[in-house]
Symmetry: C2
Subunit: 227 residues, 2 copies
DNA sequence: TTGCAATCGATAGTATTACTATCGTTATTA
DNA sequence: TAATAACGATAGTAATACTATCGATTGCAA
């Protein structure tokens, strides 16, 4: 048996949280507390209390909570890129491949346990990403953060998907815009279904899961745009 | 000559900012300061200083800065709904109508001075909406805020556009999802062009304005999805 | 014109946030 | 055995996000 691990560069932290028990606890419990409180209410002090450590110790690993969110987001996008590669590399037909990618992006299908992450509850992390990941870049310091390479996880994932789009229809003029739009929509539509249901047909009252409904909608949109 | 005015209900404030000079100043200067500092750095104290008033006075009008953002957002969506009605009511062909609506939503075309707002710099307000409006609902209190009717401005606008979509293609299964997706994309794509250019073909290096390029992309997407 | 209410500035005060810094103990490693 | 790293404990600071009170001005109504 094996486990995978996502390794992030040193720009993402002050001290690598994967290098110690405390660090791993900060990440795994941080996801849970962040999910419960939301980014605005979340503080390092509250996280520290929940793991019976101290504020100062958490600050040894991350400069501030925004950087912590960037770390978690990149961790998630890197994992997703790996899952997509693992699950779709064998599809030769680009159309089928893209359809599956979209289903994975939406979490419309299960993935094998081998792709689980040690210590990290991936569905909680996904929940955090849905609600908070936009805040990584909806920020006054986007340009500075971007210049340090902290968005490469997301950009790399989008690029790879855009390449598949371009394979299907090389003349389509907006592969990257289309991909970034559906990436955002993949969590927005589920969020809307849960909180502002009048904004979407994705709905709790239907037989399929919200994630599957979102994937159906996005696949419909993408396939009609192409070729 | 005439000016229009957007009137919001009393759930949006503690004291109606349109009822006094100070209130109007809070709104008009608030937009500017918010645009400059970004939501996280923005405080009522800084706003108060910039209009030579006091923190306590600002708090007399708005409970907190999040409510202030909700006020501004609703103000903007209400204005936009009015502009759309004014500028597109004469189109009988639903397709042409939708195309124009999308151009207006993206700010891809000018509007007559008659639709200007007194005391409010609409392009600055638009800039604030682009960067910050998602934070109105990406929030732990979405459900509470929604239950007080504070998102009706946005929901109403989306509904009206979705109706036009349904007119064009009554069998299309996702009119509301499509509209909410492109509403979000209309500011995201411009934001990406400015800060994360690898995520979109909308680009500063092209002859058309970013807003026009975004409108072209969204019109392409919508028209291929329908019928 | 007296008086009342509303408005606002001025000031003060509190709890929490977002950190930074230092110190001492314990565990690890060389 | 000695050095070092990791961490908990504690303290402290500036800013934030408020709430509360007081007094001066202004307009309007009896």
């Amino acid at each position: 048996m094996s486990t995978i691990s996502i390794v992030l560069g040193e720009n993402f932290f002050k001290k690598d949280p994967q290098s110690s028990d405390l660090g791993r606890k900060i990440v795994s419990k941080g996801i849970i507390v962040l999910d419960e409180l939301g980014f605005e209410e979340f503080t390092f002090k509250k996280l520290a209390e929940s793991i019976e450590s101290t504020e100062a110790s958490v600050y040894r690993y991350f400069k501030n909570k925004h950087k912590f969110l960037v770390y978690l987001s990149t961790y998630y996008w890197s994992w997703l890129e790996y899952v997509i590669a693992f699950e779709t590399h064998h599809f030769s037909d680009a159309k089928v491949k893209l359809e599956n990618i979209i289903r994975i992006v939406c979490h419309a299908q299960d993935f094998p346990d081998a792709l689980d992450l040690p210590e990290v509850d991936i569905s909680k992390l996904r929940s955090v990403i849905d609600k908070e990941s936009d805040k990584t870049y909806l920020n006054r310091n986007v340009d500075e953060i971007n210049s340090k390479g902290l968005f490469t996880g997301y950009k790399s994932l989008c690029s790879k998907i855009a390449e598949v789009v371009a394979q299907i229809d090389p003349k389509y003029p907006y592969p990257r815009a289309l991909v970034s739009m559906i990436m955002e929509a993949s969590h927005q539509q589920v969020f809307f279904a849960q909180h502002l249901p009048s904004l979407t047909e994705v709905s709790k009252g239907k037989p399929k899961r919200l994630e599957e409904q979102a994937a159906d909608f996005l696949n419909h949109t993408v396939m009609h745009s192409l070729k």
